[in-house]
Amino acid sequence: MQLDDEDVRAILQLLDAATFDELQIETDRFNLTLRRTGAAWTRESRTLGVPREWVPPPGGGTVEAGAGAATPQAIPTGTATEAATATPTAVVTRTSERDRLVAVQTPLPGTFYRSPRPGAPPFVEVGTRVEHDTVVAIVETMKLMNSVYAGSSGRIAEICCADATLVAQQAILMRIDPEVP
């Protein structure tokens, strides 16, 4: 049995005739809270219960499709060690040197792309001269392509994530050496 808008309306009709301001119903499938403020009712619900996995019938089932392919996706956080393993082309700089580098972070989590389209040359490489408003990458979030701007001028010193990998919010994508003319 599933609760839908019609059930909620029926419950509300009962409540309107009563003096309650709040009703909570909990079953093993859902938790529903109805609250009255003035003439308005609001509804808050929680779906309870545990998803039930498909189980092959005894004797005749085949192996579940796709289950073996499911591997948890690690989201690179852009720290030095992960950056080094994530992309073999990244130039790993020494800590003292890194202090003066400016990080380019992604404002959004998503998929990091180095080129405007597959097969096209990357926006930047290590050593590329950039200005504040140079587009250095794209991060695809919720199906939208978001341009990532350099944010400061200088030269790209390091590219910290591999192309087409997931990046967490605020992950460091690149580092810029601001002192290189």
Partner: protein, 460 residues
Amino acid sequence: MILRRLLIANRGEIALRVIRTCERLGIETVLAVSAADRDSVPAKRADRIVEIGPAPAHASYLNVAAVVNAARTVGAQAIHPGYGFLSENAALASACASSGIVFIGPTVAQLAAVGDKLSARRHALEAGLPLVPGGAVANLDEARTLAASIGFPVLIKAVAGGGGRGMQRVESVEQLEAAIDRSTAEARAAFGDGRVYLERYVAAGRHIEVQVLGDGERVIHLGTRDCSIQRRYQKLIEEAPAPLLEPEMRAAIESAAVAFAVHLAYRGLGTVEILLDCERDCFYFLEMNARIQVEHPVTEAICGLDLVAEQIAVAEGRALGMVQDDLRFEGHAIECRINAEDWCSDFQPSPGRVEHASFATGARIRVDTHVEAGVEIAPFYDSLMAKIIVHGDDRAAALGRLGHVLHHSTIRGVANTLSLHRAIIADPTFAAGGMHTGYLEQFLASRAPLRAPAPLGGPP
């Protein structure tokens, strides 16, 4: 044939929507989930779940082989693809056909005919529908030539498109190259097909669409919708019927939509999109969406049908249970899409954990949502969190009810567009109705000084 077990190859609110109808009809549901959606609300509500791959859509919800294998494995007789993802994918429909699985949607040939927008234009021409000036472009030179002949501004659209992905307005020839690259990239990411075409940009247009339903022999229409409240070709508010249309214009648009579907001997639920050119007082065929749409509830509200049940009936091989004259359209319905976006920061997506979600409830109020406290809005999928649908005796009554619902609904934990909708419906221009597709852009520009400055991400 009577369907007993259905695989739902989708997620979010539309997965729940399909489950709801299946429960009513006594059909067992198996929900195909990605690794990220194993604990989603629809996963808890489906009779069973089956995992089809990792979180990124291309590896799960867009993976034809994984979806068909899942259906075969669980012994589902049919696949409901929802909207987006593989819903209009001819490869899925034909894989279903060769595996003896019913694809809940039109035939492979019909999907091919309308899925490719250029082919859809050809069919529209054959069916006698008027078309927006434009055409295909294979490279930048062709694009320059065509754009010059149509005149700027032009629209770039994805041939395999839908939902505004890959669509862009281009003001001048200088912007053309970058815009085509961007559209191609978005189209490839969203549909796996990077081809684009150009069209004249209609400055004062309304986006009107007609819901059609066919059984392969007969076609009826379920009235108009107005989806002109858009930002970057993403619909935010939809209503049914389209307000402020002259009766002759409404009838002409409805007949054109039916003529197009009849020309295809259309089977299933579909939407014919029309661009109403307000300056020239004429309309053009835009495209046909061969699937259930996000905004279907406004049509359900005014015609009293369950459109998912109608899709299932046609998929079971039944003839339409009604003729056009049986349909009565009652009142007016409006839907607001509540997205996980920070509209004060250029609609930046706002993935994260929902701390609280409550919605006003009552007569003629419907909320379709998969979001409740504790739900994680993932960055892998689109940002739709909830659809608020209200129905009233007329547009003013529906608007009044919508104001009430928006005022008494709250989502905390992720940025969302509830407050944007409150602001829009308080605007007298919106209240008057019949806005052009440029309305929202102007509305946002007029409120720009009131909004917070854009944080990270924009040019410094």
